[in-house]
């Protein structure tokens, strides 16, 4: 029981007839960094608000540190929350912002000062303590917002898209800092985002949500390499996965002229080995050049469009009249219109059932 920091049991949330969350179960380990990932409207922020106690669930229970907090006030749950828009109190100084929650909890003055100083030191915002939020930059504001959660000395940190309002470079910097903070504090952190890079880099485990349901809950590595269904496969990865519709016959995948013996492919237990299927191939797993011929499956494609990105080059092509993306080394010269030999390793492919879109 103590191993679990946050447990969600059969959580339902309806807004009138709209079911935002349906029968949701989630166990989050102590000290884990869990990312809730999904496109907008999938219910990830709603779930976070339920954990925080800012929204009342229609049904179900929430446990934090083994305690049933379903009916508790947000401040009594042992959580700290960081919001996308920072939500700093504009008329208070940074110090006032940090100490507001502690004053409400009637923490003694010297204790408040000790905790504020510690948080300011961790986040390196000591010189800003006397300033008002209006005089801070976006990154500094978000640090203060994190600090406000930090001073409360809580078990669980909740982040609601904390980096979405920052520019790209600052976002990358703060992302690293958040990871470092997690290593340092070892608190449980639940992090909502729609940015898959943030999810992949920060998370111990990722929960991919769609329509109020968790599609897959696993480590970034498994989510990326073994997505449970086509939605997850499509959602994770940039540029996104190529899908080729075809049929599976006795361990061989066929789509038009393209055939691929699925040797080395780890079929899910009990899944059908025959019938219509979709092969998902990541653009970065396609081998080009001389090595392509060594691969178990090969084909020829025409480079229709070339997007050089410096570190690598993205090639747009077509297979069976569907767009097909290939990511290759930026050093190799490719002309538009060139015919490329490509090779595919079946072990790195994901096969999905055409009707259920579940992984085979």
């Amino acid at each position: 029981m103590t191993d679990h920091s946050v447990q969600i049991k059969d959580l339902d949330l309806h807004f009138g007839a709209v079911k935002v969350l349906q029968n949701l179960n989630l166990d989050i380990h102590d000290g884990e960094f869990l990312v809730l990932l999904g496109s907008s409207g999938c219910g990830k922020s709603t779930l976070l608000n339920c954990i925080a106690g800012l929204l009342e669930p229609t049904d179900g229970q929430i446990f934090i540190k083994g305690q049933n907090v379903t009916w508790k006030e947000p401040s009594e749950r042992g959580i700290g929350m960081v919001f996308q828009s920072y939500a700093l109190y504009p008329q208070m100084t940074v110090e006032g912002n940090l100490s507001f929650g502690l004053k409400n909890a009637r923490v003694p003055k010297d204790e408040i000062k000790r905790r504020v100083d510690r948080a300011a030191e961790i986040l390196q915002i000591e010189p800003l303590l006397k300033r008002k939020p209006g005089a801070l930059s976006g990154g500094q504001r978000q640090r203060v917002a994190i600090g406000r959660a930090l001073v409360r000395d809580v078990d669980v940190f909740l982040f609601d898209e904390p980096l979405s309002n920052l520019d790209a470079k600052l976002r990358a910097d703060l992302r690293v800092e958040l990871k470092r903070l997690h290593h340092q504090l070892k608190n449980t952190m639940i992090y909502v985002t729609h940015d898959q890079v943030e999810a992949m880099t920060l998370a111990n485990r990722i929960a991919i949500m769609k329509g109020g349901l968790i599609m897959q809950l696993d480590t970034p590595d498994v989510i990326y390499n073994r997505p449970v269904n086509k939605y997850v496969a499509d959602f994770i990865g940039s540029p996104s996965m190529n899908f080729i519709e075809g049929t599976l016959e006795r361990g061989t995948f066929r789509a038009g002229e393209f055939t691929m013996r699925m040797q080395g492919y780890d079929f899910a237990a009990g899944s059908a080995q025959d019938g219509p299927a979709i092969a998902g191939i990541r653009p970065e797993h396609i081998v080009t050049g001389e090595l392509a011929a060594n691969m178990p499956a090969t084909m020829q494609v025409k480079a229709e469009l070339v997007e050089p990105m410096g570190s690598d080059t993205l090639i747009w092509s077509r297979v069976n009249d569907e767009p097909f993306r290939i990511r290759m080394d930026g050093h190799l010269p490719v002309e538009e219109g060139e015919i490329l030999n490509i090779g595919i390793d079946p072990a790195r492919v994901s096969l999905f059932d055409t009707s259920t879109e579940e992984r085979l």
């Binding site: 608000n49 925080a52 106690g53 800012l54 006030e73 947000p74 401040s75 009594e76 959580i79 700290g80 929350m81 919001f83 996308q84 828009s85 939500a87 700093l88 109190y89 504009p90 008329q91 507001f100 929650g101 409400n104 909890a105 406000r148 409360r152 609601d160």
Partner: protein, 339 residues
């Protein structure tokens, strides 16, 4: 990026064709006396004169003596300035039964104004806050009903309110006299009566209630424009209903408070109808007294006193606008009807 350095080198490279650089350059010069400006300022000046001329006539007339007024030059400046009309309007003019000028009405108005403004704004502020941030089942219906109230003409409710004030006063008197033995045993303490109709307290209540729809609308919309996340953050920080209101919301609400104060001060100060209906002669507010002075039919019309009295009555709203005009505009924009 083309910074200044590279621009300069580009210019140097083009030196042989220097002639092409003589054309228009930099910001286009603007003529001050363009046709557009003449129209704009012309209209503004005409409108300003239209509104300022009556004020000018009032001020000038109030400083003239009666013989000078009778000469009929309305626009001429006073030959010898006299402040006698102002003194008379303030302290000596007769209104109905008593002859102590507008001063009595002024203090009555102040006594009505201050509690009404404080009471109505406090209630509206809390209601607007609750209706925007602590939505409860039926809060939208409640708000709609309140808004409907803003569209009902006051005249419809005049007489019903008279009855309500009278009956509630009687009812409260009964309760007071029935229970007063519990609280005090002093001799004669139970003889007091609660009088709402025909008293200042009744008028204060009426003003507070009738100000509610527009004020609640104002506050609700302003609070609704404050980000929801700020409110959530405060809840996570353990602040309750009142703490969030006083520590977070109110310090951010200066513009809307100013708007509410201006609306209420001018509205209540300028009110005539409620003042004349719900109070007695010795409690008439300034506006009612002004009417009694200006419209009195006995004796000669003292135009200079009338003008001075009118100006005196208008002084309070005028001062309010001068002091807080800028904040007013900002607040009106902030509380603009939204969601």
């Amino acid at each position: 990026m083309a910074d200044i350095g590279t621009l300069n080198t580009m210019k140097a490279a083009e030196d042989p064709v220097r002639g092409q650089l003589d054309g228009p350059r930099g910001a286009r010069p603007k003529r001050n006396l363009s046709r557009r400006n003449i129209m704009l300022y012309g209209v503004l000046i005409v409108v300003a004169i239209y509104y300022l001329l009556p004020l000018y006539v009032m001020i000038v007339t109030s400083l003239k003596t009666m013989p000078e007024i009778r000469l009929g030059n309305v626009f001429s400046l006073p030959k010898d300035i006299t402040f006698q009309p102002w003194v008379k309007a303030w302290a000596e003019a007769c209104t109905g039964v008593n002859c102590d000028g507008l001063s009595r009405g002024f203090w009555n108005s102040v006594r009505i104004l201050i509690p009404s403004v404080i009471l109505s704004i406090s209630i509206a502020c809390v209601s607007g806050y609750a209706l925007s941030k602590w939505k409860f089942k039926g809060s939208e219906v409640f708000f709609t009903l309140l808004l409907v109230g803003a569209f009902i003409p006051y005249q419809v409710m005049l007489y019903p309110v008279v009855i309500i004030l009278r009956d509630v006063g009687t009812f409260l008197t009964d309760i007071w006299q029935g229970t007063c033995g519990f609280f005090t045993s002093a001799e004669g303490s139970c003889r007091g009566r609660v009088q709402l109709f025909g008293s200042l307290s009744g008028l204060v209540i009426v003003h507070s209630i009738f100000g509610m729809p527009i004020l609640v609308l104002l506050f609700r919309n302003y609070f609704a424009s404050i980000p929801e996340e700020l409110f959530k953050a405060a809840r996570v920080d353990g602040a309750g209903f009142w703490q969030i209101l006083f520590r977070i919301m109110l310090p951010m609400s200066l513009p809307i408070l100013v708007v509410a104060i201006i609306l209420q001060v001018t509205g209540i100060w300028n009110d005539f109808l409620f003042g004349v209906v719900y109070t007695r002669a010795e409690q008439y507010p300034m506006t009612v007294q002004l009417n009694n002075i200006v419209n009195s039919v006995q004796g000669t019309k003292e135009y200079n006193v009338n003008m001075a009295a009118t100006l005196l009555t208008g002084l309070v709203p005028l001062a309010i606008y001068f002091v807080s005009g800028k904040l007013f505009v900002r607040g009106i924009a902030a509380g603009a009807v939204k969601g």
